[in-house]
């Protein structure tokens, strides 16, 4: 699509240029970076000197711009670059930011905004009030469509292997929406309670708050959510899916991967049967994780999330022949049989009674076999989490001494530090840099372990220093039991005739789809990845379910649809997140409380739950890294089903004949005048903020002091804040502040008849048509004008402010005055937006960075680039009437340029 003219920015100037050109018959493209056209003017209350409301003037222009047959408008879009091509035209690249809301479906009803769980400062109210991450820019927005502010995927959510929306449920808990939080987790994982306890929480490792006082306790928040929900819902709130499909699916293994796959398949309506070799379902959740970490009633309840959907679990059934399942009518099979084999040390005496693998040991205990180690000595060999679990279980079974032997030092130990710490607290001894070389005993029963000391040598391929035995350092320990925990591996021998198996016994799959070499067989979880985290297995289960569904629907596993599986926006940069705030209040994480350790350890859960208050406090520490938390509330509440979180940025390249830059101005940042206390004293506000307070769409119920909500009685205006001021490098007059202040004086006197208004000025610059009369009118209404520049402002305890000034008209004494609200009439600065858009030409600016008009006397609006014009305040501070005239001038010349270049052809 080609256009005659590109207009950058849709403030009053841009709209005027576009409308005039459109009326003349030229094709115009307007690009606006915000979600609505209208620029800054639409945010004003009324406009001088006519006192029309800004909405009444702007909204019809906004609507005409959008509906004009010759004008196309791209909102929420940015011009990225403009290049003049060989034909002399401009090639323009525009990026349309994703709004995450289907524009054609959105009705502007604001349901998403009303229910959104992330509060951020409302830039359209100049930070005086909150808006939501999902929002409609302002009530008169054109188009009136919501957008969702998403800076990217929050690091916690991004890193979760199961794709659980960690940020989302944290945001929901922050707002007290626990049930919604539970349901959100359930969207990605049925094992909410188990993950809340036994997940290794990679999310917390990525948490941006970790750079401050420590990460948010995301896992414990999840546990809180699960506990809250399970307390009231002994059974899931749903039953078998209404959608029924007839293709049966078999799942081999009822661990996290298998359960999760079954869950998602059953939700889609597939009849699913899980085959479990053990006597009870749950896989490692059941058999490997000790119940002081993960109580088995929680596992049971988690499993009910799956079985409620009609999933059948056949326990005690070991599947060795996958073809048999096929013969039984299962059209797809998911193998998730885990890693129930243990590696052998291949040393003497390994077969003695009393030498047991950790997996066997834990399974026996977890499945309720009565094992007592009373007064026994136990050596655990290994340094992983399973080793620690075994040791801590041994302690709980009454062992008098438990020693963990690990061949490297503590620093290299793969078990989590907090696990090691807990083991130490429970009296477990650690022998680092040592490893068994021989088990001895009599009558086939273990009696001694012979170990050898190690030292760390050169780093191995994985970068860890390799332990080397120290010659002659052998020593012996009298023991009753050795638990070996030196590595787990899958037991896949039986599948080998059908499937490809790696040398480490894991199954070969396509990592993208989890499909094996046999199309109807998929595999996932530890049997594919080797020993990993629960949450990893859960992720694999969900992925398998997705692709099994594709497979059963005869869809390509590599199509566009499949590529969209688990699309995530790029992760947000944590440095940028932290840099968003000037300062942070210290919010110390809730300590990881444990049940008090007693001599008689039992299998009671060691970690105490968060109280509701702690959970909300913890969730309240969240920094909303991605802004939108992906909590899905809008997805569920939008009546038009318009939310589309997978929307992506679109790039558009167009050719235009001429360009009008109408990028407007920036407001002077009042913080640069620290003596006025803006940002520090809450009752010091800017003129733009006052305009918002006076506007019909105001953020408060009327003009109120931000300090405490009081109706102000005595308001001061400080003119020339940031204008005519060398100290802040702006010697220019901003041209509008005197008049907008005078206008506000009149409006305040109307809205708050009891309030006094005093204006501290240097010169009152009422220079335009009707302005002087308007100024005199304000004086006649009672506004008090005092000539004198304000030197400083101080805040009193009650929020009132003392102003210091030189009273020029009355003898020049230094005076003090008290006011209860101060308005800084901030000036206008150049906007840097347009400066660097042009690739092979330079858009010159003046010494104050406004776009330079190279021939203002004869051709105002003409810039240093031929065919590029500037409209409105982008070329220098202008009031609205002047901006509109200037924009008309830009339009006339852009039209002339288009005609001239046409004729040349």
């Amino acid at each position: 699509m080609n256009y005659d003219v590109l207009v950058i920015g849709s403030g009053i100037g841009g709209m005027e240029s576009a409308l005039k050109l459109g009326d003349m018959g030229y094709k115009v493209l307007v690009v606006e970076k915000e979600a609505s056209v209208g620029g800054k003017m639409i945010l004003l209350s009324k406009v001088f000197p006519t006192l029309d409301c800004a909405s009444c003037i702007s909204t019809p222009k906004m609507a005409s711009t959008i509906h004009h047959p010759n004008i196309d408008v791209m909102t929420y879009s940015e011009v990225k670059e403009i290049k003049r091509n060989k034909a002399g035209k401009f090639e323009v690249t525009v990026l349309k930011k994703p709004t995450f809301i289907n524009e054609n479906l959105c009705t502007g009803c604001r349901e998403c905004e009303m229910n959104c769980n992330v509060a951020v400062p409302d830039q359209f109210n100049f930070d005086m009030v909150a808006r939501r991450a999902a929002y409609i820019a302002f009530p008169q927005s054109v188009p009136k469509k919501a957008v969702i502010e998403r800076e990217g995927t929050s690091p916690c959510t991004y890193t979760c292997p199961a794709g659980i929306k960690a940020h989302g449920y944290t945001a929901l808990v922050r707002g007290g929406k626990y049930e919604e939080a539970f349901n959100l987790v359930l969207e990605n994982a049925p094992l909410v309670g188990s993950l809340g306890r036994a997940c290794y929480a990679p999310c917390e490792g990525e948490c941006a708050r970790g750079r401050l006082e420590g990460p948010i306790s995301i896992r414990r928040i999840k546990r809180f959510v699960a506990d809250e929900y399970y307390k009231d819902h002994v059974q899931p709130a749903y039953g078998v899916s209404e959608e029924r499909k007839d293709k049966k699916v078999a799942v081999v293994g009822s661990g996290p991967a298998g359960l999760t796959a079954a869950f998602f398949l059953a939700r889609k309506g597939y009849p699913v049967t899980i085959f479990e070799a053990a006597s009870e379902p749950g896989g490692m959740l059941r058999t490997a994780i000790p119940s002081y970490r993960l109580p088995k009633d929680v596992v049971d309840r988690d499993i009910r999330n799956v079985t409620a959907l009609g999933v059948e679990i056949k326990t005690g059934v070991r599947i060795d022949d996958l073809n048999e399942l096929k013969d039984q009518g299962y059209e797809a099979i998911f193998v998730a049989s885990g890693t129930h084999g243990t590696r052998k040390m291949e040393i003497e005496g390994e077969n003695l009674g009393g030498v047991i693998s950790c997996i066997d040991f834990l399974r026996e205990v977890n499945l309720g076999k009565d094992v007592s180690l009373k007064d026994k000595t136990v050596v655990v060999v290994g340094g992983g989490n399973v080793a620690i679990d075994s040791a801590r279980v041994a302690v709980r079974l009454g062992a008098k001494k438990v020693i963990v032997q690990y061949r490297r030092s503590r620093a290299e130990m793969p078990a989590h530090d907090w696990e090691i710490q807990a083991a130490e607290d429970e009296g477990i001894e650690f022998e680092y840099l040592s490893t068994p070389v021989k088990y001895t005993g009599s009558g086939g029963i273990l009696a001694q372990v012979e170990s050898i000391k190690m030292e760390l040598g050169e780093p191995d391929a994985g970068g860890r220093r390799k332990p080397v035995p120290v010659k002659g350092s052998e020593y012996r320990t009298e023991v009753d039991m050795v638990i070996t925990a030196i590595g787990l591996e899958p037991e896949t021998k039986a599948f080998q005739k059908l499937l490809q198996v790696n040398s480490n016994e894991t199954l070969v799959v396509n990592p993208e789809t989890l499909q094996t070499s046999v199309p109807h067989v998929f595999a996932g979880g530890d049997v594919v990845t080797g020993p990993s985290m629960i949450v990893e297995a859960v992720g694999q289960g969900r992925k398998a379910a997705f692709f099994i569904d594709c497979f059963l629907n005869d869809e390509s596993l590599e199509g566009v649809h499949a590529r969209e599986y688990e699309y995530k926006m790029p992760v947000v940069d944590k440095d940028k997140v932290i840099a968003r705030q000037q300062n942070y209040r210290k919010l110390i994480p809730v300590a990881n409380n444990k049940t008090l350790l007693s001599k008689d350890l039992d299998f009671t859960e060691t970690e105490l739950p968060l109280t509701e208050e702690e959970a909300r406090y913890s969730a309240g520490r969240c920094l909303d890294c991605g802004v939108c938390s992906e909590c899905q509330t809008c997805v569920h509440t939008c009546p038009a089903k318009a939310i589309d979180l997978s929307m992506k940025e679109e790039k558009k390249v167009v050719e235009v004949g001429s360009v009008i830059v109408s990028t407007g101005f920036n407001l002077f940042p009042a913080k640069l005048k620290p003596q006025y206390g803006y940002g520090k004293y809450k009752n010091v506000i800017t003129g733009m903020q006052m305009d918002r307070l006076l506007s019909p769409t105001r953020p408060y119920n009327t003009v109120l002091r931000p300090h405490d909500g009081k109706v102000p009685e005595n308001i001061a205006y400080v003119l020339c804040t940031g204008s005519r001021d060398q100290a802040v490098n702006n010697s220019l007059c901003s041209g509008v502040c005197c008049m907008y202040s005078v206008k506000q004086n009149q409006l305040i006197m109307g809205a708050l008849p009891l309030a006094d208004v005093t204006v501290y000025y240097i010169d009152v610059r009422a220079f335009g048509k009707g302005y002087e009369e308007f100024y005199q009118q304000a004086k006649d209404m009672g506004a008090n004008f005092v000539k004198g520049r304000i030197a400083g402002i101080r805040e009193k305890d009650d929020g009132n402010l003392t102003l210091f000034y030189e009273d020029i008209n009355n003898g020049g004494k230094v005076m003090e005055a008290e006011h209860d609200l101060v308005v800084l009439s901030v000036g206008l600065l150049a906007s840097p937006d347009a400066k660097n858009l042009f690739q092979n030409a330079s858009l010159e600016t003046d010494e104050h960075f406004f776009v330079k008009e190279i021939d203002e006397d004869i051709s105002p609006a003409r810039t240093s680039i031929e065919g590029v014009f500037v409209a409105g305040a982008a070329s220098g501070a202008k009031d609205i009437p002047d901006s509109i005239l200037h924009a008309g001038a830009a339009a006339a010349q852009a039209a002339a340029y288009v005609e001239r270049t046409r004729m040349k052809k």
Partner: protein, 80 residues
């Protein structure tokens, strides 16, 4: 509290503070300084929360005191 807090942080906390403020308002309509006293937070911060809650329909004004403060009361759930 350690000095002036970042507005972004205060505004973010509306979600945490909302229920506490609504609870305090169950006792009867209150002004911003009164809410601030009740929940022990500075009034400028409470102002952000109450105004956010007003914007999103949780509270509404309920008359004015002689000192020029508006009173706020919770909006009933069904009326929302």
């Amino acid at each position: 509290m350690d000095g002036i807090r970042d507005v972004r942080e205060i505004i973010r906390e509306e979600m945490v503070m909302r229920d506490r403020i609504l609870e305090v308002l169950q006792e009867g309509s209150k002004t911003v300084p009164e809410i601030a006293d009740a929940i022990e937070y500075p009034s400028p911060e409470v102002m952000y929360w109450v105004m956010g809650m007003r914007k999103y329909g949780y509270v509404t004004e309920d008359g004015q005191t002689d000192e020029g403060y508006f009173l706020y009361r919770p909006v009933k759930e069904e009326a929302k």
